[in-house]
Symmetry: C2
Subunit: 80 residues, 2 copies
């Protein structure tokens, strides 16, 4: 079976994020006030897997072995 | 009023994405087959705006003037 997968990887709370700070300032220069600006990387793909549980397990393993650094990143998984 | 904003920026269809191709191959090395792998940048923040329509307009302007390159990028906006 084929599943649509969405992985969103972001920095854990408390990690410095200079990119987010730069964007917050640039938006302020445009005249708009923002709070709690965070950045994330998103990956979407179609995955071949036996069932939904299996798809989730494979996706989790892809995150932990390849896409995320567990020391600094957290990740969200959607299996559709 | 404050609104939660989620902006997702990705490459338009047909644009070369070497990062996505590299990830697809790395996942294949882990033994899993994926299709249609795409990458995107996501930005989340809280925005001060008069009403929801105004928040959407400001967010669109932030995308077009700052975050996205309209030649190569498309963007999705969520205002919550």
């Amino acid at each position: 079976m084929k599943f649509d997968i969405i992985i969103t990887i972001s920095l854990k709370e408390g990690m410095l994020n200079p990119e987010a700070e730069a964007i917050r300032r640039a938006i302020a220069h445009l005249g708009h006030t923002t709070e709690h600006l965070t950045t994330a990387d998103q990956f979407r793909f179609v995955l071949d897997a036996g069932d939904k549980e299996n798809a989730e397990e494979i996706t989790r393993s892809i995150c932990e072995r390849l896409l995320a650094n567990p020391v600094i990143h957290k990740y969200e998984i959607e299996v559709i």
